[in-house]
Amino acid sequence: MRRVGFTSTIPLEVLVAAGAVPVDLNNIFITNPQSNDYIEEAELAGFPRNVCGWIKGIYGAVVASGVTEMIAVTEGDCSYTKALMEVLSLQGVRTYPFAYPGGREPELLRAEIEKLMAAFGVGWSEVHAAKARLDAIRLKVKEIDRLTWEENRVTGAENHYYQVCTSDMNGDAEAFEAEVDTFLARAKERTPMQQQLRLAYLGVPPIISGLYQFVETQNARVVFNETQRQFAMPYGCPDLVEQYRAYTYPYDIFHRLADIKKELAARRIDGVIHYVQSFCFRQIEDMVLRRELSLPILTLEGDKPADVDARTKIRVEGFLEMLQERQ
């Protein structure tokens, strides 16, 4: 089957309608046990050391996985993606640019989606059918999220995993839905967890591993994963264009903030972990979050895939102690 990679969440409905296997290149990179080799390979090829690890990881993942077609999100994500697309196109990878319009203009977004549909030879009826199929799975993943914050039956890592997988449904929607069904049946029967502190995780998914588990050893739990939840499209929009306008990740920080503030209040959050990637422009947005949010914020920075390190642990522990004292 035709496998099509992408660099960040795109209207998945188009690829599903085209009968292609969607491949979120971030997931291919980060779930590979040798993910650091991908980064090394990219640096050997010439990527500078001070470039985002995700970009280098995606490069390595494309080269290693043999993906020959990919959609590059050229507006709404970072400009590194543009250069990545150029480099990979020189190596024979067929690339399709996709741009989220900066002003969230519906007509521009519709034109971008239709351009993608034309590239993959599908019309609106197939895309709508694909949306109905995907929305059914998204609804179930939304229930996992609700079980996380409202019923306390799901861990922060599980919440992260199921939501982050919705960007490509693990490349196999049927198998992923079955996995979700099994998990939901199990999670509903669990005894609620009792951690004292409720945390929000803001920012891109972590390149480091073990953070959620470490937090839970310290009497705290992440009950809101901002970006991962966005990947799962929890809006219930019947219109596809409106759905990708409601999606916050590719647009400005203030659009994101409206969603963040609503969820922080609803989920009774005690403190915020803002994860930033080394060399990412989103590090600058930390200033805005600190000005706009009244909750205590711990900013963590990750560079390459690794288990959560001693320094990060020290900072997380200090932060959680501070939150406990405030209670």
Binding site: S278, R290, T299, A310, I314, G318, E321, M322, E325
Partner: protein
């Protein structure tokens, strides 16, 4: 001190701060500091430390820092780098930020201040409001604003740290982001014939520039500076000029974390 003189308010407590460069020790009786000591961390671990069943065992008696009687009676509290990967046998382990804030509260008697702790690798800035930690930041990924940087630069200049710590006048601008490239930048400035005193001042000023963005986050009336770098008088005076806060260095800045541990015991 004899057993007869000890009562509930004068309980013995030991605080240990295992830093990246120095292991610091404090013995308190109630609120009185009885003893402060420090040892090079590496040689301390080599001589008196071992890992047993994932627990760090320190031969505190063998180190000669505390008597058998003191170790028997005192409650021991420890903090320091790597504390979350190893448990110290028989001791309570607390976070570094908590230890340092407790030390600053104990040593200054203030309840509202900004604390700047500059150690061998770590730089922490904390805001304390009504005696409680309100927020903090720590350096991450880069330790070019640390004591180790000062040590390296002093070595390049072939001056002892005490000499480096004396000069704040007419600093030569040093701009390298990297603490290692900073060494070659300094060598270039030596060749230009600048006097060592101005180069020392330049090194001290780079440290100030690196911590200022962290300090700006937490303005207070008073800035309490702790950690070994607080012993650098020139750096402190340069910081005073820039931060517009009243600056206070407690009596024992380097032992502040150990004192905080003992105070919380």
């Amino acid at each position: 001190m004899t057993n007869e003189t000890m009562n509930d308010t004068q309980k013995l407590s030991i605080g240990i701060d295992l830093g990246s460069r120095k292991a610091k020790f404090a013995l308190l009786s109630g609120t009185e500091i009885l003893r402060l000591q420090d040892m090079d961390t590496i040689s301390f671990y080599k001589r008196y430390g071992r890992i047993d069943n994932d627990e760090l065992c320190l031969d505190l008696l063998g180190s000669g820092i505390f008597s058998a009687e003191e170790l028997d009676q005192a409650r021991i509290t420890v903090t320091g780098y790597g504390r979350n990967s190893i448990n110290l046998h028989g001791a309570r382990v607390i976070s570094e930020i908590r230890a340092h804030v407790a030390g600053a509260l104990f040593q200054t008697g203030l309840t509202d201040f900004t604390m700047l702790d500059m150690g061998g690798q770590d730089t922490k800035v904390a805001q304390v409001v009504s005696g409680k930690l309100a927020d903090f930041v720590m350096n991450d990924k880069c330790a070019a604003s640390s004591g180790r940087y000062l040590e390296n630069m002093a070595a390049v200049l072939e001056v002892p740290l005490e000499e480096l710590s004396r000069h704040a006048e007419e600093p030569i601008a040093l701009d390298a982001t990297c603490g290692i490239f900073g060494e070659s930048e300094l060598i270039g400035q030596i060749l230009r014939g600048h006097p060592v005193s101005r180069l020392c001042a330049g090194v001290n000023l780079t440290l100030v520039k690196r911590v200022m963005p962290m300090l700006k986050r937490f303005p207070s009336k008073t800035l309490v500076i702790t950690g070994g770098v607080a012993l650098n008088g020139a750096m402190v005076s340069l910081l005073k000029e820039q931060c517009r806060m009243e600056v206070l260095v407690p009596h024992h800045p380097q032992h502040n974390g150990a004192i905080g541990c003992a105070a919380l015991a």
